[in-house]
Symmetry: C2
């Protein structure tokens, strides 16, 4: 399951059209798709683990900004009322006993009535404001998935859930780093401001050219690595905590919701 | 338990000194105490109800901005490491089978090992920025507790928890309403911007001169009623949802934490 298709018109697709393509079998990273609409990370866990995960997310809102929580057993979300959570991501990961069991394009046969689905904000959302600020996105220029890294930094544990922080990285021209910080800082529901700027050695557990998720990206002269908290952190948590069963999206392969990005600046949930 | 003591020096007390007074038996509303330090609402529930409540809070972040969650059975919080949650609020409410059972100054004898304590942001925190913006606070001028009202508006339910929205109200001179909105909007961890401005009839279930919690406050000519989501909403939720046991603060009688108010602008939790 490594097929990556590219669509020249993906940026202007309506979210419902994009979801239909994925439901029909298209597999592609969603960076840049349906510009202006919020994308989300998925983690679906048995109800018995839901409190632990939500406690963990509440204690670590930068990697885990919770935008919605589906009711137990439900495969719908208020973020995209006509979406089917079992089919409308480009790709899924199935986890058993804290290990990645398989990666699939359709999760229907794995769904369970006791699953609680958490919808976590995604850095692809703040990429829109970076682009609007004139900041080049090297991974898009190079046609690859954004690189993501497991770090040396530990999240604050919640119940049975603990995890290292996972980050995404974008090379940013040094003259534009401050603008990248202030622009993304407004997107509190999509990881907000960076957690680390420059000096990868004091953050990463490995080489910047060997990301744990996504693809290697090439720096231009004068680019500085800028790191944002990443919604793949829950997948590191599954590994670190031995969660017995979970369904997640495949890194970089997100749900494209019907919510405009501006809803992630500030908070529009609830009453 | 209706004693209200007033302290002329309360504004400049260090939080640990204020907590010591409350631990020793002082009972007073905490509006204006220890200026610049965040105050928090308490709701302690059995672990069996913790997921439902956290789900409810996540879905309704304006009334329920969660600043910390204590581990099961713990009576400490990271927001004030030397505080004892059983003694350091000026007053508590004990709830049984969804009903207010009693109001006490010390909750030690009621504490249970299965309680999970949620710490919710408080409007007294954004009062600091209102004062800095030159906005008069009528309830402080008049030496009364802020008025709080149960409204006609329903929160989005979470699991077994449902509730009407509870609001606090401050009369604001018409020329300063916009400033009150923009100033409080920065305090996302303390209810943020108002939920309703003017026209009480379309929001309240009762008369503006008969608040369900706190005290009646007198308007000056040209004042407009401005309503903010209120951390007493969890107490309305206990009533509406028949929670079998809970300990909360008494309305207006908060924990004064060691966190500077600026930590409530933006989000400083976690990694």
């Amino acid at each position: 399951m490594t097929t990556t298709q590219r669509f020249d018109q993906s940026e202007s697709l309506h979210p419902s059209e994009a979801r239909k393509l994925f439901r029909q079998g298209t597999i592609a990273p969603t960076s840049g798709w349906s510009a202006g609409f919020t994308q989300t990370n998925l983690i679906s866990l048995p109800r018995d683990w839901a409190y632990d995960f939500l406690l963990f997310a509440q204690r670590n809102p930068k990697p885990c900004p919770v935008l919605d929580i589906s009711d137990e057993g439900s495969y719908t979300t208020t973020l995209a009322p006509d979406a089917d959570l079992r089919t409308d991501y480009p790709a899924y990961r199935i986890w058993r006993n804290g290990q990645l069991a398989e990666e699939v394009g359709d999760a229907t046969e794995f769904w369970r009535d006791d699953l609680v689905s958490f919808h976590i904000g995604c850095s692809f959302t703040f990429e829109t404001v970076l682009v609007e600020a004139g900041i080049p996105l090297r991974h898009r220029e190079q046609g690859v998935n954004v690189p993501m890294y497991t770090t040396q930094r530990q999240c604050r544990p919640g119940g049975r859930i603990s995890s290292p922080l996972v980050v995404s990285m974008r090379p940013v021209p040094a003259s534009m780093v401050a603008e990248a910080v202030t622009a993304s800082n407004t997107m509190t529901g999509a990881h907000g401001a960076p957690v680390h700027v420059g000096d990868p050695g004091s953050l990463l557990i490995d080489d910047i050219d060997r990301p744990q998720f996504g693809d290697r990206v090439t720096f231009h002269d004068g680019d500085v690595p800028v790191f944002w908290a990443c919604g793949v952190t829950p997948q590191a948590a599954i590994l670190a905590s031995g969660v017995p069963f979970a369904i997640t999206h495949a890194p970089g392969h997100m749900l494209i919701t019907d919510q405009p990005d501006r809803h992630v600046a500030g908070d529009h949930r609830g009453v």
